[in-house]
């Protein structure tokens, strides 16, 4: 009963591996760098390496697939190679190795075109209209994965929305760093309502999906805390937890979206490495509402977020004050 967790070196992957462990199952982690999670086996390698993937899936009954290239910028081919072809490789190997259940960790952005989301359902993944290379590649990967779901090889997609928590370099530390440098404007005063997911809740939902695979197979389930908040409050909460003064300066969202598009293009054209300071996708994320209808997800997974937003901020503050 070994569960393979790919991408376990990330914040969410680590939390997932630990929560699976706590259910009494064997966990094998698979990623490029050592994750060092006590009590787990570890296979090092990349998802685009067939031999490494075959080693990773051997003897596993279930797979939780988190490994992905996550970035706001970068060439499309790179996203496709890791996120689509890597997933295909993993699924092929898993099915061949006798794996029965796969949780494909996806993103709500696979279904959405950049407009406001207000109490939205998950919606079908749409590689043609999703925004940005990341979302498009994840959309293609999700379609691919769910398309493989059969009675004997069950696949479900879980889409956690904006996962955050202590040690999160993707969002939390970037927000703190920018705010500290005075480079974190609010867009349109930050009034747009955004759903987020505290990392432990996202991990629990993913584990619940494995447990509830009889009902979840073939479905795409958006996972959030179910506590939408204005983005200004979320940013302020993160800043305060890190002891940083929250941003007050506001920039019109339309301006930021336009500027983001320009910056993104130059960044790519100049072949600069790393993340551009603003992208159109990021500007959209920061200036339009993104919150979801959680009723279906909760009913299917029989899961509730255990950590509320305020409790999450407190945990964040404890983490950064020590």
């Amino acid at each position: 009963m070994t569960v393979l967790v790919t991408g376990a070196s990330g914040m969410l992957g680590r939390a997932v591996a630990q929560q699976v462990l706590s259910t009494g199952r064997e966990v094998r982690c698979f990623q490029r760098r050592p994750a060092g999670i006590a009590g787990t086996q570890e296979v090092l390698g990349s998802v685009d390496d067939p031999a490494a993937v075959a080693r990773a899936v051997a003897g596993c009954s279930s797979v939780i697939h988190l490994a992905a290239k996550v970035s706001f910028a970068g060439p499309a081919a790179e996203f496709h190679r890791i996120n689509v072809e890597g997933t295909r490789l993993l699924l092929d190997a898993a099915e061949q190795a006798g794996v029965t259940d796969v949780v494909q960790v996806s993103s709500p952005s696979v279904a959405h075109d950049g407009t406001s989301l207000v109490g939205a359902p998950a919606g079908p993944a749409d590689p043609a209209h999703a925004r940005g290379h990341y979302a498009r590649s994840k959309a293609a990967a999700e379609l691919l994965a769910l398309g493989r779901s059969t009675r004997g090889f069950r696949v479900a997609a879980v889409r956690p929305h904006i996962v955050w928590g202590p040690g999160d370099t993707q969002l939390v530390e970037r927000v703190m760093e920018r705010a500290r440098a005075g480079r974190l404007p609010l867009l349109d005063a930050g009034t747009a309502l955004i759903d987020t997911t505290y990392v432990d809740n996202a991990a629990a939902a993913i584990v619940a999906c494995l447990v509830r695979m009889d009902r979840a197979a073939g479905l795409s389930l958006v996972v959030t805390n179910g506590e939408p908040r204005p983005i200004a409050e979320l940013l302020a909460g993160i800043c305060r937890a890190g002891g940083v003064t929250p941003p007050t300066r506001s920039v019109p969202g339309s301006l930021a979206r336009g500027a983001g598009a320009v910056i993104e293009r130059f960044w790519t054209a100049l072949e600069r490495s790393g993340e551009p300071p603003m992208t159109r996708f990021l500007a959209e994320q920061l200036s339009t509402a993104h919150w979801f209808d959680q009723r279906h997800t909760r009913a299917v997974l029989d899961w509730r977020p255990a950590v509320g937003i305020d409790e999450g901020f407190e945990r964040l503050a404890r983490h950064y004050s020590t």
Binding site: S116, G119, G190, E227, E233, W291, Q294, R295, R298
Partner: protein, 923 residues
């Protein structure tokens, strides 16, 4: 016919029909096109056939929703394209009304249609269908009419748009050579037609030859008696008076041609008709409103084509409890008794004006009522006449009301607080025979072309009378002192009054009361408040105040602008009270706010007069307890009553300040059901209350992905069985002898309001506590359906208003029903003064008119400061509610009339924009 939106291609059919019309040579056949939903073709039983006839320049496509709806309800629906129209043959012959009726008979014969028939008509198709109905009564079981006309009053010119279409030089050009008439007609749809639907309507009329029928139809409008079709029209118009089948009229009042005038004419000819006016709809009412669903609902409710034995007796259900009803005593009975009694010389009514006081004794009042009644009778008004009264509260209005009721005329009362547009809409919808008004009202009557004749409440110059088309003045009526008493004993169950709602949620609705129901209202007010002969009251709140003479109580109108209750000053109130030694005051919360604001300037005598008040009633809107406590200091001897009611039932429940305090204590002590809302007390004399629980919101796995589940009510819909169990939230239902008879010309609205016999559904939500008190939680339309469950706004709002800085709170939902995010929008002192300090105008709070809303600087609204947001969330969490956002605004929109009821629908719509990113615009 090509595929068209909303039409099943299998409905389209053609039929060769032998003509017996005088327009055609013998032996002529015409090819008809028609739509037929085919119900019953497979042998399944059908209830009958709807025979639908379109007007000019549409075609059977107009009825597509009827074909679909009929299938589901067991009705065959056949919609013809009249000859020369739609896809039917172009006959090359000018077909007049007479021919068209015969054509329809020929078609029905050729189709072999038999069994029960309901004719359905629109525009000139209404005339043709009525002509058919009138001549083919054997199978006729019902008549449905939509925006049509059967008679042109020779004294009035035909509507301007038709005059234009008929004008030489315009007619051919507008109707045939070009598509102007077609385009103009299609452009009448409100909202605009979808382009695909517009294309469908235009499809059969592409060439001038296609459009010849359109031109001829327009020419066939009998504008005067010399017209060749006038005789056929008159025959039908008179003939239908003897139709005894159920009739439904559905109307779009924005029609520039078939206005309310024609509806009124038809209503006179077919008095049994059920009428629904879709207030926002225009000529193409089928496109603007769901008339097909209404028609199906009506066919079922009226048991059309159901054998008599099986028919449910819905119509007579209401009168089931007739035996227990008390003997009827007309509203004016006490007035007459007192006028002929020993106290006939004592004061009955008084009014204070800037120029002094005017009083009438019971004898004077009765004489005046008799004189005005005689004057109205002399002008031809009597039982059933609708008299629109646009006169401010005071002696004249009192006299007019009792005079109208005495002769059996129906009083129509709408509040100037509706604003010019709203008032105009209300008056028009009531189709008055006469408008009696002050000069300002008569100016509006002229400007807005209100129907009906005009009587001036004041004296006008001869020029003024001509300009305003005034037949007479109130003085003239009084002068026409009749020798015989004009009074007739009104029929107890005849209509007595149409009172308009405040229109704070959509267009104002006319609410009809019978004489018996008005008398019951008097008895309830008297019994609840202990009022009767010997009482004396200050009438600062109109609806109750007008009952003074009916109760036998002396009443006085204070010096104030009654259209704006906020203008009542403490001194004016005291002066009025002193004038008649009043012990009772009726006022609204807005008036009381101003009384408190001006109480500093109150004279010593004024204080003494207010000190004598033993009962003060605040009605019309909820009043906060702290405000009530301030009022108590001003009237220390008074019991402060805060009754709950609405236009449809002026009194439902009542309590007083002591009762409110006891209720609060009960809530604090944990009494089952106490708390979460405004306590309005227990049911008044004669009234019973029940609660219709709301459908739950919550997860529903089956609805997603795994196919639909059997029908389940929308979350928050009031679908539960009426209950009086404590603590169950739902729509408040009331039954009492003084509840309205019905809504005026709003058949569907009426059906909805009485769908749970014998209850009237108030549209408010609330619950009862274990001791029978009613707690109001808001409007049904303001219920929030979050994933966590149903939430009503008032209880949480009250809790939020306890927070230091918060002046007024609105709790609304944003997002899709069933998974809404809960938002608190707070009017705070800080936000308001910040706006003022910046030099920007803080908008008027009352009167959410479009113009006043535009001025508001949106940057005033902002996310609440962290402390306030945290405090608000704490308050909400204690009630099990997660607030997604807390927003601070300088002012919340409130209603014009009471300056107190928050327009939550508006706040919700604004919040949805504010919280979805980008510009929200102004609140």
């Amino acid at each position: 016919m090509v595929a068209l939106p909303g039409v099943d291609p299998s409905w389209s059919a053609y039929l060769d029909v032998p003509s017996t019309s005088g327009a055609d040579a013998p032996g002529t056949h015409h090819r008809w096109h028609y739509l037929d939903n085919g119900a019953g073709a497979d042998g399944a039983p059908v209830r009958g056939t709807l025979l639908c006839v379109h007007g000019n320049p549409t075609w059977s496509y107009l009825w597509r929703t009827y074909l679909a709806a009929g299938l589901a309800e067991g009705w065959r629906v056949v919609a013809v394209d009249q000859l020369d129209m739609g896809y039917s043959a172009r006959t090359g012959v000018f077909r007049r009304l007479e021919h068209r009726i015969t054509d329809l008979e020929d078609f029905v014969a050729a189709l072999g249609l038999h069994g029960p028939v309901v004719t359905v008509g629109h525009d000139w198709g209404g005339v043709v269908s009525l002509g058919y109905a009138e001549r083919n009564r054997a199978d006729l079981v019902g008549v449905i009419l939509t925006n049509t006309a059967i008679h042109q009053d020779p004294a009035r010119s035909i509507p301007a748009p038709l005059r234009l279409a008929l004008a030489p030089g315009v007619h051919g050009l507008g109707t045939r050579t070009s598509t102007a008439f077609l385009d103009v007609t299609l452009a009448l749809a409100r909202p605009a037609l979808d382009p695909s639907v517009r294309r469908a309507f235009r499809a059969p009329y592409r060439t001038p030859d296609d459009r010849r029928g359109i031109a001829n139809f327009v020419s066939d409008i009998p504008a005067d008696p010399s017209h060749p079709s006038h005789a056929a029209l008159t025959t039908t118009a008179e003939g239908i008076r003897t139709l005894d089948v159920p009739v439904l009229m559905m109307w779009g009042p924005h029609d520039p041609v078939f206005s309310d005038t024609y509806l009124e004419d038809l209503a006179q000819r077919l008095p049994q008709a059920d009428i629904h006016r879709f207030e926002h709809a225009s000529h193409l009412v089928q496109e603007d409103a769901d008339t097909a669903a209404t028609a199906m609902q009506w066919l079922a409710a009226r048991s059309v084509a159901v054998p008599t034995g099986d028919a449910e007796t819905t119509a007579s259900a209401r009168s089931a409890g007739q035996d227990e009803r008390p003997a009827f005593s007309p509203l004016g009975r006490r007035l007459r008794d007192l006028a002929s009694g020993p106290d006939s010389g004592t004061t009955a009514v008084a009014e204070l004006t800037p120029s002094g006081i005017r009083t009438l004794s019971w004898k004077d009042l009765d004489d005046d009522v008799a004189a005005v009644a005689a004057g109205l009778t002399a002008l031809g008004y009597g039982p059933g006449s609708r008299v629109s009264l646009l006169v401010p509260p005071g002696i004249d209005l009192t006299v007019l009301i009792y005079a109208c009721l005495r002769i059996g005329a129906i009083i129509v009362v709408a509040d100037a607080g509706l604003g010019a547009r709203g008032l105009s809409r209300a008056v028009r919808s009531s189709a008055p025979d006469v408008v009696i008004g002050i000069e300002r009202a008569l100016l509006a009557a002229r400007a807005f072309r209100w129907p009906g004749r005009r009587i001036s409440a004041t004296s006008l110059t001869a020029a003024g009378r001509r300009a305003l088309r005034v037949d007479a003045s109130l003085g003239d009526l009084r002068a026409a002192r009749a020798t015989a008493d004009a009074g007739v004993q009104p029929e107890p169950d005849a209509d007595a009054a149409i009172l308009f709602t405040s229109g704070s949620t959509g267009p104002a609705k006319g609410v009809v009361y019978t004489h018996r129901q008005l008398s019951a209202m008097r008895d309830t007010v008297g019994a609840t408040l202990g009022l009767g002969p010997g009482s004396s009251l200050v009438a600062g709140f109109a609806p109750f105040a007008l009952l003074g003479p009916a109760l036998g109580a002396t009443s006085v109108t204070p010096d104030m602008d009654v259209t704006t209750p906020r203008t009542l000053t403490a001194q004016a109130l005291a002066d009025a009270a002193a004038a008649i030694d009043a012990t009772v005051v009726f006022a609204s919360p807005a008036a009381l706010r101003n009384v408190l604001a001006t109480s500093g300037a109150l004279s010593e005598d004024g204080r003494t007069a207010l000190g004598r008040i033993s009962l003060l009633l605040s009605a019309g809107a909820p009043i906060p307890v702290p405000l009530l406590e301030e009022v108590q200091a001003l009237v220390p001897a008074a019991a402060l009553h805060t009754p709950y009611g609405m236009t449809e039932s002026l009194l439902v429940a009542d309590t007083d300040l002591g009762g409110i305090r006891r209720a609060a204590a009960a809530a604090a002590a944990g009494l089952d059901g106490a708390g979460n809302g405004v306590c309005v007390g227990r049911p008044v004399h004669g009234a019973v209350i029940a609660i219709s629980p709301l459908a739950p919101s919550g997860p529903d796995v089956q609805d997603h992905g795994h196919g639909a589940r059997p029908h389940r009510p929308a979350p928050g819909a009031a679908t539960g069985e009426p209950t009086t169990a404590p603590g169950v939230t739902g729509e408040i239902l009331v039954d009492a002898p003084h509840v309205k008879d019905r809504y005026f010309r709003l058949w569907r609205t009426q059906q909805e309001s009485v769908r749970t016999h014998p209850w009237h559904r108030t549209g408010d939500v609330g619950h009862l506590d274990a001791e029978g008190r009613l707690w109001v939680e808001g409007r049904l339309g303001h219920v929030i359906t979050s994933a966590a469950g149903i939430l009503t706004p008032v209880g949480l709002e009250q809790a939020l208003e306890m927070l230091g800085d918060v002046r007024l709170a609105a709790v609304v939902g944003v997002g899709p029903a069933g998974t809404q995010a809960v938002v608190a929008v707070l009017e705070t002192a800080a936000s308001r003064s910040a706006a003022a300090a910046s030099g920007r105008p803080v908008r008027r709070r009352a009167g959410a008119s479009a113009s006043s809303l535009l001025r508001r600087p949106e940057q005033r609204a902002r996310l609440a400061a962290p402390d306030l947001a945290a405090a608000a969330r704490r308050v909400a969490r204690e009630r099990g509610v997660d607030l997604a956002a807390v927003v601070e605004v300088p002012a919340l929109p409130v209603d014009i009339r009471h300056n107190a009821k928050i327009d939550r629908a508006r706040v919700a719509a604004w919040s949805a924009r504010f919280l979805s990113g980008g510009r929200a615009g102004s609140l």
